[in-house]
């Protein structure tokens, strides 16, 4: 199939390209940007005047819930939701059942996502067997099976010694480690940011120090072992300071934040909506401001959805009893674009945080998160002028999203994955 996208404002943050022009696609690849190559006869055309074309979004944290949690979602449903959100590449965390700690689970996920064909799925392997924090997974075998990085998620390591060893082992093979620092002991029993709001609501607090104590330890061990490390889902202003300081000292650490953390804060918990129960928790308004500034300055390279779909019952309980997480891959783009609306970032820079930024943070293969001649045609088209209501035609199996019913400033109109139209707004 030969496809021409006509008249879009084409923005490629990686190459700083920003022009109104045409894109020509054949055999799943970008053949030309601008004039059509000689003899190129498009069999299909998309009139994209007024639309923006950018690289397909790269989302570093999307729980697909398969295998093992099919009540919450599955690979087909959640990658379809990703496509509707303009996401063409996504990383899925290892907290499946069984845990993604063997090549067999990685292969199953890759096979099923290829069969679904909605997006490129890059699995994140479990750093330790069963995520139990005691024994290393076979990291090299997992890499060979397609895992692009390794994480322990929020489950704690048995001790600092095993953490240090695992970073050292990963460094030996130049593997990337993803860390979500939260000291399990300081966070014990907590479900909301420790602060005035949690106090008033009688919710057990998670102090900021649960994050910063673990982050300080992690930074020291990263420096000592020389491992390639990425921090996922940081929440506090203090963590942003510590990260910036480490980067200034030359430590090659990168970070992403959850998109919803840029909009919500602990004060929104008044009313006890279980839809706002997330982990790590929503922090203070001041923390939120610091997160937005860190995304603006580039200390944080990536915005990820931290998509966590749930069945209705998981949230149809009091706040404290509910399972944490928001279904959000479908609204990654509009959430990120609020930074443009609020004047923090120009559109190309904002787009970099959901395309080239995350791709380079994890060192993903060249071509992902950018528009490259000869590269895979992963392209997202969106209408920056078309407001839409969030939740109309919702595709994720989890409708646990506090933004449903609200207006979004922009709408994804088309998503191409490998030159194939995997989503079109109707």
């Amino acid at each position: 199939m030969r496809l021409t996208i006509e008249g879009a404002r084409v923005i490629d943050p990686a190459s700083q390209f920003d022009e109104i022009t045409d894109l020509h696609i054949a055999a799943g690849h970008i053949q030309a940007i601008g004039a059509a190559p000689e003899g190129f006869n498009a069999s299909q055309r998309i009139d994209a005047r007024g639309l923006i074309a950018c690289p397909g979004l790269v989302d570093l944290n999307v729980a697909l819930r398969e295998p093992g949690h099919s009540r919450k979602g599955n690979i087909a449903s959640e990658t379809r939701a990703a496509a509707a959100g303009g996401v063409t590449t996504l990383c899925c965390p290892p907290d499946t059942r069984p845990v993604l700690d063997t090549p067999a689970v990685a292969e199953l996920i890759l096979d099923r996502s290829q069969a679904a064909g909605n997006a490129r799925v890059l699995p994140i392997g479990a750093l330790t067997k069963g995520l139990e924090g005691e024994q290393l997974s076979e990291l090299v075998a997992l890499r060979d099976a397609g895992c692009v990085a390794f994480t322990q998620g929020l489950t704690p390591m048995a001790g600092n010694r095993i953490l240090r060893r695992s970073l050292e082992y990963a460094a030996t093979f130049d593997l990337t480690i993803i860390l979500t620092p939260q000291d399990a002991d300081l966070a014990e029993g907590g479900m909301a940011h420790e602060g005035p709001t949690a106090s008033r609501l009688g919710l057990v607090g998670i102090p900021e120090s649960a994050e910063t104590v673990a982050l300080a330890r992690d930074l020291l061990l990263i420096e000592q072992t020389g491992v390639r490390a990425h921090f996922s889902g940081l929440t506090s202003a203090r963590a942003m300071d510590m990260l910036a300081t480490a980067q200034a000292r030359g430590l090659p650490v990168t970070a992403d934040v959850a998109a919803y953390q840029l909009l919500l804060c602990d004060e929104d918990l008044v009313g006890f909506s279980s839809q706002l129960h997330v982990m790590p928790p929503l922090r203070s308004a001041a923390d939120r401001r610091a997160l937005r500034e860190a995304v603006q300055s580039g200390v944080v390279q990536a915005i990820a959805s931290h998509h966590r779909p749930h069945e209705a019952e998981a949230k149809r309980v009091p706040f404290a009893a509910s399972e944490p997480g928001i279904s959000s891959v479908e609204i990654l783009l509009p959430l990120a674009l609020t930074l443009v609306a609020d004047g923090l970032l120009e559109l190309p820079a904002a787009l970099s945080r959901v395309t080239s930024g995350p791709a380079s943070a994890l060192g993903l293969p060249v071509g992902i998160g950018q528009l490259q001649l000869g590269g895979a045609a992963d392209i997202t088209l969106f209408d920056p002028a078309q407001a839409c209501e969030i939740g109309r035609n919702w595709l994720s199996r989890g409708s646990n999203c506090p933004f449903i019913g609200q207006g979004a400033p922009a709408a994804v109109t088309h998503t191409l994955h490998g030159g194939k139209l995997v989503y079109q707004l109707t």
Partner: protein, 331 residues
């Protein structure tokens, strides 16, 4: 994109339809509640202790945490209002069979319950029921996690008002485990709303919640300083678990520093009231002689608790019924 909380407890005319927390309720409404409770106190003194305000209505006491005292006073209050009363101790029935809170309450609603009195270990449980499960049934919060215990707060307010007249010139001290206390949270809000100018909390830092200053209270770590010249002392119950979680070294050290004894009570005004939501730990937070002494109104609180719960129930039932009529007319 922003989220706006809405007001759950009031109907379109501003009447109480659920009673979930003191937060957001006006001074006028709290005063009306106290006035109503005052009028019900007289019912308790009559030979026939019944009024027909809730005749034909079914009140379900749904207790997910055990509490003999609170459940009994709610039961008595409902019966004095002539309601039919159903007592359910859920901790020992359905939830152990795997039924969710949602399903349990929907089933009760299907049995045409008009009011739920709910105690639950999770903060926000009563909100959840009023908002998501049974908005048309009046929901009374009988204690949710560490969040709120509004009927206890109002019976404390009634006790203070009956013994001191009003709140305008009072100093009130709340002593002990503020961090885990839904009673303290509701009391601070109620005292503030009713115009009490000097609310003090007295506790070590490990038993104080983050951001306590949002309540407009003065914080004291030293009991002997904090109690000076107060009119009312509200003691809180200290749970044994607090020692295991590293919040306190021992019961005896707590008693030595924060226990209300004849000696420490002498620092307060000579006729200062001694209150406690119960059950009391003699020799842990309060000396026996003080608990039983002439300044103690601890048993009065229990008596007033019935009148306050009658007031809350009758007001919420009226508000909920009015709302139903308003909704029907609108349709």
């Amino acid at each position: 994109m922003s989220l706006t909380p809405h007001h759950l407890q009031l109907n379109q005319q501003g009447q109480l339809r659920h009673f979930l927390t003191i937060e957001g309720l006006s001074r006028e409404l709290l005063t009306e509640l106290l006035d109503t409770a005052d009028s019900f106190l007289e019912v308790g003194e009559r030979a026939v202790k019944k009024v027909p305000l809730l005749r034909g209505k079914t009140v379900c006491n749904v207790f997910f945490e055990n509490s003999t005292r609170t459940r009994t006073t709610f039961e008595l209050a409902a019966k004095r209002l002539s309601a039919d009363v159903l007592n359910l101790n859920i901790s020992t029935s359905s939830t152990s069979k795997g039924e969710t809170l949602y399903d349990t309450l929907q089933n009760l609603e299907a049995m045409a319950a008009d009011m739920f009195v709910v105690r639950h270990g999770d903060s926000g449980a009563a909100h959840f029921i009023a908002e998501r499960v049974c908005p048309d049934v009046a929901v009374i919060n009988a204690g949710d996690g560490n969040h709120a215990h509004p009927t206890q707060a109002m019976l404390d307010m009634l006790t203070i008002r009956r013994h001191r007249g009003d709140f305008e010139n009072l100093s009130v001290a709340i002593v002990g485990d503020i961090l885990h206390s839904r009673v303290a949270r509701s009391n601070m809000l109620a005292l503030k709303t009713l115009g009490c100018p000097d609310i003090r909390v007295i506790a070590p830092r490990t038993l104080l919640p983050e951001g306590i200053d949002q309540y407009g209270v003065r914080v004291f770590n030293d009991l002997r300083v904090g109690l000076r010249d107060v009119d009312v002392v509200i003691m809180l119950r200290l749970q044994k678990e607090r020692m295991q979680s590293g919040l306190l070294p021992s019961e005896s050290e707590f008693y030595r520093l924060y226990g209300l004894t004849r000696e420490t009570l002498a620092l307060a005004k000579p006729d200062a009231l001694v209150m406690h939501p119960g059950p009391i730990n003699r020799g842990v937070e309060i000396e026996s002689d003080v608990a039983d002494g002439p300044q103690s109104v601890i048993l009065k609180q229990v008596t007033y608790g019935i009148a306050v719960r009658m007031a809350v129930m009758s007001m919420a039932m009226t508000g909920q019924t009015t709302q139903r009529q308003l909704t029907q007319e609108a349709n």
